[in-house]
């Protein structure tokens, strides 16, 4: 489970970085953050059934002037690999991927997901950072959005329990 305090910090940082639309698929550790995004008046929240859909929604929204992000678990990152490759990367869409790190060091479940998350991001050529320090949340999010916008590519932030 996440905390409201940390989730609020992430939400504020996302808003400061100009994120204006968020697609999401839940995870237990993202519960508070998704709840806060759903309540927020400035960010358009688009729950989707599968993460590939979310990459599509973010792509359409970007073309129309939104600054999009998708919130999902790393299992969802795996689900969205084709859309990331043949849409987000091929068309050059700067979508911020906020990926919960299931199977992180010390997590007793989803160890294969944990093992493969960073290699998959590297394999896709997606720049990423693993977020472990709540004090750096604002800087990490601002930096990731800047990199995404400048490179016109998806950029990922991998969220660990420490920052949620």
């Amino acid at each position: 489970m996440g905390t409201y305090e940390n989730s609020r910090r992430i939400l504020e940082a996302l808003k400061e970085a100009g994120i204006s639309l968020m697609a999401s698929v839940p995870d237990i550790n993202l519960k508070e953050l998704i709840e806060l995004i759903g309540q927020d008046k400035e960010i358009v929240h688009v729950p989707v059934g599968r993460e590939e859909e979310g990459i599509g929604v973010c792509t359409g929204a970007y073309l129309a002037g939104k600054r999009p992000a998708i919130l999902m678990q790393n299992a969802g990152l795996m689900n969205s690999c084709n859309a990331l490759t043949t849409t987000a990367l091929q068309f050059g869409i700067p979508v911020l991927l906020l990926v919960y790190y299931a199977g992180d060091m010390g997590d007793d479940a989803f160890h294969m997901l944990g093992l493969l998350t960073e290699p998959v991001l590297s394999g896709l050529g997606i720049k990423y950072a693993v977020m472990r320090d709540p004090a750096r949340v604002k800087r990490d999010i601002s930096a990731a959005v800047t990199s995404a916008q400048a490179s016109k590519r998806p950029v990922a932030l991998v969220l660990t329990r420490a920052v949620l």
Binding site: V46, P47, G60, A61, G65, T86, Q90
Partner: protein, 208 residues
């Protein structure tokens, strides 16, 4: 009815709608019938409906039309549920069903066995304005209705297989993206693309 004659029949009904066209024959045929910088090609099979949803949510006063196919829709059936959930009034989703993966060599899709009712699925997912058409006249009527009433709308158009010889697209997906963005910027009066100035170029007034 053939897809190409369908496209020719509905093109005169269009004004400044944005089009998201599936990875398949509908894209090159539509761009031959109605070339426009408001046409976006899709490279991920099935993702056209999701991209269209994102556009429709981001531009709620602009009509967005999605051209899907039976194979593509089968790959992203969940998008019907998501469209049903969000109820974008400005989204018109048309599925050209030729009962085959035309671009892959004509292999059967879920539609080939004629068990699936795509319009029924869409309706059950919450897309109330959902119908099946199999004649050009019915198609024109359905599209006219969709263009003049709040949606979301789903039109299941059952067509004959076969492509019409048309010129290949003149530009790739990157140029297509920029053209679509510039078209949206101009027609919506908004700014989407800004080129960042490197920090080293910024005028420093506090430097001595």
């Amino acid at each position: 009815m053939k897809r190409f004659e369908c496209l020719q029949a509905i093109a005169p009904l269009m004004k400044d709608e944005l089009f998201v066209t599936t990875a398949g024959g509908a894209t090159s045929e539509w761009n031959a019938v109605r070339p426009s910088d408001g046409n976006l090609q899709v490279k991920t099979l099935g993702l056209c409906s999701s991209i269209g949803l994102g556009l429709a949510i981001a531009l709620p006063r602009r009509r967005v039309i999605v051209f899907d196919g039976d194979g593509a829709l089968w790959m992203n059936m969940g998008s019907l549920a998501t469209i049903g959930l969000h109820q974008p009034k400005n989204l018109v989703h048309i599925c050209w069903d030729n009962q085959q993966y035309e671009s892959s060599g004509g292999e059967p899709t879920v539609s080939t066995a004629e068990k699936i009712d795509f319009a029924g699925v869409a309706k059950a997912a919450g897309i109330q304005s959902s119908r099946c058409v199999s004649t050009v006249e019915d198609l024109k009527e359905a599209v006219s209705y969709a263009l003049s009433h709040d949606g979301p709308h789903f039109v299941w158009a059952t067509i004959e297989p076969g492509r019409t010889q048309v010129p290949a697209l003149k530009y790739d997906e990157l140029e297509n993206k920029y053209r679509v963005i510039r078209y949206i910027e101009e027609t919506e009066g908004i700014s989407v693309l800004t080129v960042p100035i490197p920090h080293s170029y910024e005028l420093k007034t506090d430097r001595h």
